[in-house]
Amino acid sequence: MMKLMHKEAESHDTTASADATFRVRNLNVTARGKTLLRDVNVSIAPRQVFGIIGPSGAGKSTFLRCLNRLTDLTPEIRVSGDVRFEGTSVRDPSVDPDALRARIGFLFQQPVVFPKSIIENVLFGVRRLRRLSRGVLAEVAERALREAALWNEVRDRLNDSALALSVGQQQRLCLARALASEPEAILMDEPTSALDPKSTQAIEELILKLKERHTIVLVTHNIGQARRVTDWLACICVRNGAGTVAETACCDALLENPQCQEVVEYLGSGSSLP
C-alpha cells in the first residue's frame, strides 16, 4: 500500500518530519564559490532504507557527507541550512561532531580496511569510543561480524591481516566495524559498486535485515538495487548548475511514475544498470 503511494517532496517532508531520523532544511553547500547543493529539503524516516539516486557529479556523496559532518574534513566546503539528526541540529555549536559521527555509521564506495588484523579492524572504533573489557570486546566483535554475515568466514582467522580478504568480505568487514559501535543510522555511499554480484547480493540482504533496527541512507547508481532494497527514493539532479533534490517519493512510485523531467531523463538515460 505504502509503496504505491506517490508524494511530491514537499508533502512527504511535512508528514514524516516529526519523528524523522534526519531532517534537512534549505541545505546549501558551496566550495570555492561554486554551489554544489542548493536548497535541499529531505526527511528520512526511522528504520527505513532511504535511497538516493541521480547522475554522476550531482552531489549525492556531498549530501551524504553533510549528514554526519564528514564535510568538515574539507575546509573549502561551506555548508548552510539546517540538518537535524534525531531532532538536534548537527551544526549546533554545542554538538560534538565526533560524538555525532559515532552514532552514525558510514560505508564508503571502496572498502577502507586498516592494515591490521581482522579483529583489530572490527574493534577499531568501538574500543576507542568506549572502555570495554577484553571479554566484552570479544563479544562485541562476534556480534558485529555475525550481523555483517562475515562471522562464519573469518571466525578461524580473526588475527590474520584484513588485507587478505576479498573486496566483498572487506566491505562486510567495514560494515561490521560500523555496527560494532551500535550506530542508530548508517550512511552508505555506493557500497556495492566495487563488488561482484554475489557480494552485492550479500550486502543487499544485509541492508534489508539491518533496517529493522537502523535507519539507512543508501546512495546507489544501480536502479535494480534501489528497487530491491529502498523504501523511499530521492533523485538528486543538477538544476541551474547546482545539485538539488528533484523528486522524493516512495521507491516504486518514483521509479514507475516519475514526475520530474530530470528524473525521467536520468532513468531513461540507460546509465542505470538493471
Binding site: 554526519n68 564528514l70 574534513l73 575546509p75 565526533d98 560524538a99 555525532l100 559521527r101 559515532a102 552514532r103 552514525i104 555509521g105 558510514f106 564508503f108 571502496q110 577502507v112 586498516f114 592494515p115 577499531f124 572504533g125 576507542r128 569510543l129 588485507l163 567495514c174 566495524r177 560500523a178 559501535s181
Partner: protein, 282 residues
C-alpha cells in the same frame, strides 16, 4: 641534429653518473685498503693506548654510539610534534610555509655554528662543561629538519581514505593521530633519523667543544662534566699529527669503522624507505 642530441645527452648523463660512482668506489677503496690492516677483534674491544698509536677504539665507537642514540631519542618527539603541527594541526597555508622555511633554514646552519652555540649555551651558560648530552642535543638539532621532513612526507602520503574512515567512526583527532597517522608513518621517522645521522654522526665540529675529548673518558657517569670519546674527533686528532706510522694505521682503521657505521645507518634505513612504496601500491 635531433638524433645527435638524443645520443649525446644520455651519454653525458651516463658519464657523470659513472664519474660519481667511480669517485665513491675509489674513496671506499682507498680507505679500505689502508684501514683493513688495522682491523682486528681487539681493535674493537680494546681501548686506546699510547696516544692513539696502539690499542683499539672501543670507547671511541661506544661514545659515538651513545651520541647517536641520544640524538635519536631527543629528536624523535620534537620531530613528531613538528611534523604533526605542519601536516595535521596547522590549517593556514601561510603558517605551514613559514614552518617549512624554518626547517630549511635550520637545515642550512653550518655544523660549526651548532658547536659554538652549544658551547656558549650549554657548556658555559648552563655550566654543564663538556657532556655527551650536549652532543646528543646538538646532533638532534642538526638532524631535526631531515627527520621532520621525512615524517611529514610519510604523513602526506597517507591515503586520505584512512583519515575519512576513522573520522566516520567517530574517533577524535588525537585518537586518529595515535591509531592511524603515527602507526602508518613512523617508518618515516626511522628513515629520516638514520639518514640524518648518517650525515651527522661523522661530524666533528658540533661535538669537539661540547661533548667529546681525545683521551681519558670511558662511560658517561652523569650529565655535567661527562664527555665521551668519539670516532670523528679521534680521527681529527690523529690526522693532525700522524707522523708516527703506527698512528697512521689506527687512523685509517678508525676512518674505515666510521665509514662502515654510516653505511650501516643508510642500509638500515633502506627497508623502511621501501616500505613506503609497498604501501603506496597496496
Amino acid at each position: 641534429m635531433r638524433r645527435a642530441s638524443n645520443v649525446i645527452f644520455p651519454a653525458l648523463c651516463g658519464v657523470c653518473a659513472l664519474l660519481a660512482c667511480a669517485l665513491l668506489v675509489g674513496l671506499v677503496f682507498v680507505i679500505a685498503q689502508r684501514g683493513v690492516p688495522a682491523l682486528s677483534w681487539t681493535f674493537f674491544t680494546d681501548q686506546m693506548r699510547q696516544v692513539g698509536s696502539a690499542g683499539g677504539i672501543f670507547y671511541n665507537l661506544l661514545g659515538t654510539l651513545i651520541l647517536i642514540a641520544a640524538a635519536l631519542v631527543i629528536s624523535a618527539p620534537i620531530a613528531t610534534g613538528l611534523a604533526l603541527t605542519q601536516a595535521v594541526y596547522l590549517r593556514s597555508a601561510s603558517a605551514r610555509s613559514r614552518l617549512g622555511l624554518f626547517l630549511y633554514t635550520l637545515n642550512g646552519i653550518p655544523s660549526i655554528v651548532f658547536g659554538i652555540f652549544g658551547f656558549i649555551v650549554f657548556v658555559k651558560f648552563f655550566g654543564w662543561g663538556k657532556s655527551w648530552l650536549i652532543g646528543g642535543i646538538l646532533l638532534a638539532l642538526m638532524i631535526l629538519p631531515t627527520v621532520t621532513v621525512s615524517l611529514i612526507e610519510r604523513i602526506r602520503a597517507l591515503p586520505r581514505k584512512y583519515i575519512e574512515a576513522a573520522t566516520g567512526l567517530g574517533l577524535r583527532q588525537s585518537q586518529i593521530i595515535w591509531s592511524v597517522i603515527l602507526p602508518q608513518s613512523w617508518s618515516g621517522l626511522i628513515t629520516g633519523s638514520l639518514l640524518g645521522l648518517a650525515r651527522a654522526a661523522g661530524e666533528t665540529a658540533p661535538i669537539m667543544f661540547t661533548a667529546t675529548i681525545f683521551a681519558g673518558a670511558s662511560l658517561p657517569h652523569g650529565i655535567r662534566e661527562s664527555p665521551v670519546l668519539s670516532l670523528p674527533y679521534h680521527i681529527f686528532i690523529l690526522a693532525q699529527d700522524s707522523f708516527d706510522p703506527g698512528v697512521g694505521a689506527k687512523l685509517w682503521g678508525s676512518a674505515l669503522v666510521l665509514l662502515m657505521l654510516v653505511f650501516a645507518l643508510s642500509m638500515i634505513a633502506l627497508p623502511f624507505r621501501l616500505r613506503l612504496h609497498d604501501e603506496a601500491h597496496a
